[in-house]
């Protein structure tokens, strides 16, 4: 079964110094280690390339180029050379073969040399910049290379963005294929739009680009499924987690409570790290004001009542309504046991976050023990927090994500827990936070059911 090899596309990313060329490539590659980026101009001094490959077959080669720095000077030089107005590539060749000029316009020569050897170029623009003449000079020089070009407006979400001004200026030089693509915003939809625009300009490469888009889409959906499964595992583990404590021994119970809280916190951290890894964000480079996250950790404690409020989790109203573990009447004591008030029901809202668990209540009591579990509100908080993070990761910092976040949180803010989690409440053996027990198939089913629920809520936020 041999498929005809697809024609590989060579794509150059060019533009003025410090417009975000390297970070655009990093976004397209989904790789943080490509090049060195920061706000310092001119960091890239040589052409660097990396491949977008599927199953070992390179479909697209991305070329990062040094920033253009002296287009006005180069225009002056070209004009001084005289010669015909047409035949742009010939004039560029003359520059590239003139050794002193090559040395003088080192960056520009590298970029132009690259331009002559690629199939298409992306011209990256910092949309916060005014349309200065030097940028128009750059466009004029690049157009001498006679390669198809697509203008990419970076930093359009900034309040200083002059997107309209730029679109107008680009239209005037005949560059009508313009795309707003914020490199710091990882938005699969924009990425898709960019490749579609490229495909519409490059008929010969349309199959290549279609293959790449299909691969990206599959990757994205696999990532999302894996993320939902990760969250589902966390929730099942947390919902089924329990600790046994001796009755009427406040210190022992305190210790058991602390132990349970610690275990759940650590488990959440494992989930958070997995999500960041899945979306290839390092702990250090994740910065989003909307999420209380610092250095790869949640900055707010899971068991702090304020955290519940922050995520809009309501705690009242369900206790005693048969909604969750907190509502179960203590069979053995009629709910009147010593210290019950600190644990059961009403106290949940006070941020204790723990309730008496299921299991063999009478048997436990006869043996002088009680079971502790985390309460429904905390499970809901765990879910809302991870889903919020997931939404943020999928579309980092994008202005349009606010309604999505609110909607995903909403499902978990109120009401009873989804059915798979209620099942988990009765199966302490499902939690990896309890003494290591074998994971059985019923746990796997509950995880799969819950992951499906999460996936649906992620896909249809409404």
């Amino acid at each position: 079964m041999t498929r005809q090899a697809l024609k590989p596309l060579r794509l150059a990313v060019v533009g003025h110094t410090n417009t975000g060329k390297t970070s655009l490539i990093r976004t397209l590659l989904h790789r943080r280690d490509f090049g060195q980026i920061d706000n310092r101009g001119g960091t890239t001094r040589q052409v660097a390339s990396a491949a977008l490959a599927v199953d070992g077959e390179t479909l697209i080669t991305l070329y990062d180029s040094p920033g253009l720095e002296d287009a006005p000077g180069l225009i002056d030089w070209l004009e001084a050379q005289g010669g015909e107005r047409h035949g742009g590539p010939d004039r560029i060749h003359r520059l590239l073969t003139d050794e002193p000029a090559r040395r003088r316009f080192d960056h520009e020569a590298r970029v132009l040399d690259l331009m002559l050897n690629v199939d298409v170029a992306l011209y990256v623009i910092d949309a916060r910049e005014p349309v200065l003449e030097k940028y128009q000079d750059e466009l004029a020089i690049l157009s001498l290379c006679a390669r198809p070009m697509l203008a990419v407006l970076n930093f359009v979400v900034s309040p200083d963005s002059r997107e309209a001004e730029w679109r107008d200026a680009l239209a005037r030089v005949g560059l009508h294929t313009v795309l707003a693509f914020d490199a710091v915003v990882r938005d699969p939809a924009t990425e898709r739009r960019m490749f579609e625009k490229l495909a519409s300009q490059l008929d010969a490469f349309a199959p290549t680009l279609a293959r790449w888009l299909k691969h990206r889409e599959q990757e994205e959906s696999e990532r999302l499924s894996a993320a939902c499964q990760t969250i589902a595992e966390l929730l099942i583990d947390a919902a089924a987690a329990e600790r046994l404590a001796e009755l009427n021994a406040p210190t022992a119970r305190m210790r058991a409570m602390d132990d349970l809280k610690k275990a759940v916190r650590e488990r959440e951290q494992v989930c958070l790290a997995t999500l960041l890894d899945l979306y290839r964000f390092g702990r250090e480079d994740y910065a989003d004001e909307d999420l209380p996250l610092s250095e790869g950790r949640w900055s707010e404690d899971l068991f702090d009542p304020d955290t519940l409020k922050y995520h809009g989790i309501r705690t009242g109203g369900h206790i005693g309504a048969g909604a969750g573990a907190g509502a179960v009447v203590d069979v053995a004591t009629g709910g009147l046991s010593l210290g019950a008030g600190t644990l059961v029901g009403a106290a949940v809202g006070a941020g204790v976050g723990l309730v008496r668990g299921f299991g063999n209540r009478i048997g436990d009591r006869l043996r002088g023990r009680e079971r502790l579990m985390i309460d429904d509100a905390t499970v809901r908080l765990l879910a809302a927090r991870q889903l919020r993070l997931l939404a943020g990761l999928r579309q980092r910092g994008h202005a349009s994500q606010t309604p999505l976040k609110a909607a995903t949180g909403e499902r978990w803010a109120d009401g009873s827990l989804p059915e798979p989690l209620q099942r988990a409440r009765r199966h302490p053996g499902w939690s990896m936070l309890n003494v290591a027990e074998q994971l059985d198939a019923s746990r796997q089913r509950a995880v799969a059911d819950l992951a499906r629920l999460l996936l649906e809520s992620g896909k249809n936020p409404a």
Binding site: N39, G41, Q46, V47, S49, A50, D55, V270, D277, A436
Partner: protein, 480 residues
Amino acid sequence: MSKARLTVVDWLLAETVRLHEERHGRSADDDTANALACSAAPDLPGRLARRAAALPVASSIRADLGRLRRLALKLACLVLAVAAVAGGLAAVASTADREIGFLLAAASLLALPTFMLLIWLLLMLSTRPSRAAASLSGSVLAIGISRLGPRLLDGSLAAETVAASSGLLGTAPGRWALGAMAHLFWVVYSLAALLVLALLFSVAQYDLSWGTTLLSDERVVDLISTLAWLPASLGLIDAPRADWILAGREGHQPGAARATWAGFLLALVVVYGLLPRLVLAGVSALMAAVGLRRLSLDTRQPGYLRLAGVLSEHQGVDIHGQPPVPVAPPQHRRPRNPDGPPLLVGVELERSEWPVSLPGLSWQPLGRADSRSQRRQVLAAAEGFLRPPPAVLVQCSALRTPDEGVGRLIARLAEAANTLPIIWLDEATRLEGRGIPLRERISDWRALAERIGAELVVMDADQPEPGALAQLRTLLGSDQ
């Protein structure tokens, strides 16, 4: 591209590590393993396996896997011993009396294995691989590993090692392996039964006959002929004739053709008990072997997918062209006998009102140099002085990234006016409004100033700091 083939141990190691990392987070000390994995294998499954094998915890997992293997072997031997005993007992039970009902004996030896075979087929066809093992002896093995395993292992990842091994038995090749085990059980069972029967038939005299209460004799003759067809076709016995079969009727001629009837019974056990199981054991073992060679990791699992990023880094970036050659910075000096006020040029500023005025400073504005024609005008104006001015002050915007074009303009201005160039970095306050760190921008401009041999003063014209103002005054020589 050739895919790295995974051995069973590779697979189990990778799965054990995945299960552990999904529960407890990624190993903190995996940098070396990641780097090793990237250089060792071309594809993600291969890299994942290589990474797991290179983690510090791998050796203890390997030791545990060895223990599990030995446990599995012991369990298998136990199961086969049970099979041998059961087969022998079945043979003894079917020959309890010296008068043997041929059909009854055949049924008691063959009914159970055949019934179990049907159940196996049904389970194999109807259940998904991830569910239970499709046979009793397979279940004994699988459950034995999952229950006894944790007690035998002492590695830090014992629970995960057992879970991964159970997972292996749940894959398609694992199921075939358990199937081979089940068939082997019945092979041993049939062999034991055959041996015991042969032994008993050799050392004691049995009368084999058949009888019926409900059926007609012809029916039974037909039945026996049918049963005999396959062994006869295989050449194990001579095809029995109807009158010979009738001669074996109970009470007819007791003990007639004893040896032939005994041989017939043995042949039935071989053909209907031993042979099918032998064939199926072979097929299952083959399927298991082929499947185990093609084992692959499910890279969609979160524990694997999260590593895809890390395991694709460190590779595939090519650098083209020679590194740039550093150039020695030109030297500009303040002229010995300057004349007149310093010159002022504005470059790519965002402010519309220009020139600005600052207390205690005066200059001669030459114009703004934003476009090429303006640059030419300003350069021409800078050349028109008989005696050099004390400095040329180039007011630049911190909003712009410094570039060679501006650098060259400043250098040429200094050359044209034959004086010291000073870069005045303005509009820093607006830059901070954009959320770009000012310090880095200033250091970029400082680097440019050093490259062209210019001085640098950072001062926002809207809110000049006294210190910067004083520095500028000193540089311009206006405080003398």
